[in-house]
Amino acid sequence: MNTMSNMNLKLPLSEEDVKKLKSGDTVTLTGTCYVARDAAHKRLKEALDQGIPLPVDLKGATIYYMGPSPAREGHAIGSAGPTTATRMDAYTPELLDLGLRAMIGKGKRSQEVKYAMKRNGAVYFAAVGGAGALLSKCIKKAEVLCYEDLGAEALRRIEIEDFPAIVVIDAEGNDLYETAISEWEKG
């Protein structure tokens, strides 16, 4: 591994983009994505269960797992680093089946999520956890789309520019967290 390819990609990603991405590739992302974390996922799931149309179209979409701190005057957003994706695993396979194509977060994903990613051709990127100030500089616009009562957990749409990320799990199910850690593990 350690391909370090530094691709620049436009969001939303195409099916072709996803196919060429390999676990370990470093990329920068530019374009539109949604922001949602625990409570917004729960609301989306409740809507699906009740047969209510989702407030956003997930076909081809990217979700950034993140809950920002409040923006200061003149800033699009406050601190805005990734949250742990693992907590969204319970909701993710269903969203992938609805067309979700990319996720940005940090932390491990379940086997069920990996199967659903493979089945649907999706990719999971990690951004650096705890680099919220740095990553906020790559967010040029942010607006709350719905679930405003959830505060930091509201569903948002953001415009990102040259947002640094790394492909952790590709559409073939290769997982950098497993391969890279075993490469550096000293028996």
Binding site: M4, M66, H75, G129, A180
Partner: protein
Amino acid sequence: MSEPREINVSEITAAVREMSIKVNHFLSEDMKECLNTAKTTEKSRIGQNVLGQLWHNLQIAEEEMIPICQDTGMAVLFLSIGQDVHFTGGDLTEAVNEGVRQGYTEGYLRKSVVEDPILRENTGDNTPAVIHMQIVPGDRVKITLAPKGFGSENMSRIFMLKPAEGIEGVKRVILEAVKDAGPNACPPMVVGVGIGGDFEKAACMAKQALTRKAGSHSPLPHIAALETELLQKINALGIGPGGLGGTVTAFAVQIETFPTHIAGLPVAVNICCHVNRHLEKTI
């Protein structure tokens, strides 16, 4: 008997307010040193890249007053209260919460607390704080603020070992906790450990261990040796910065101990991310 020293609780509110804002924007010197050293020792290229981003992140946080991490934490406070102090002007716990309320609201910090763990409605001002109070000799009040993010808090564990498992059992469970935490806890991490006491004493010591100067050792020689050995074993796990593989998985292992029962060997592991916010002030 000496007269009690009067402290108006508004002083506590003001201190907590100011500390909440400072601790979330300015990394403490000990943690900065850990990160700076790691930049030179990390062997993996991706790991070096992650550490570089983290270093740059700190500069932006300070210069532009953007919190280091968006998870500005649940406010955890340790108050060491001198027994010769007499608080005036109101309720001490409410004064601490008012400081958190003001700091988190006026400091543009994230409100991450829900009122009821099942119903989960956000309290809107990051209160209440988790407050640990201890009465000590003297007439001072030492406030330690350690806002805790839950990426790492969720990866913390407690083990009630049998005495027969001994030191080997202690090592095994600490390594297990760190290995399971992996990328989720935002490594490089600081590993706080409490050994002994009972169930809640062990957990409390593990949290308090995180507030020690990073990299400082236990005064007990066998515990200091255990800290050194575990740090080396943790860094051999390969998790690395961001969990993307590498040689720096933890900056430090910090262990606190307390006498325990003849039948028990509690071990609590409280993991913290690379930010490990902690700040002290004495009034």
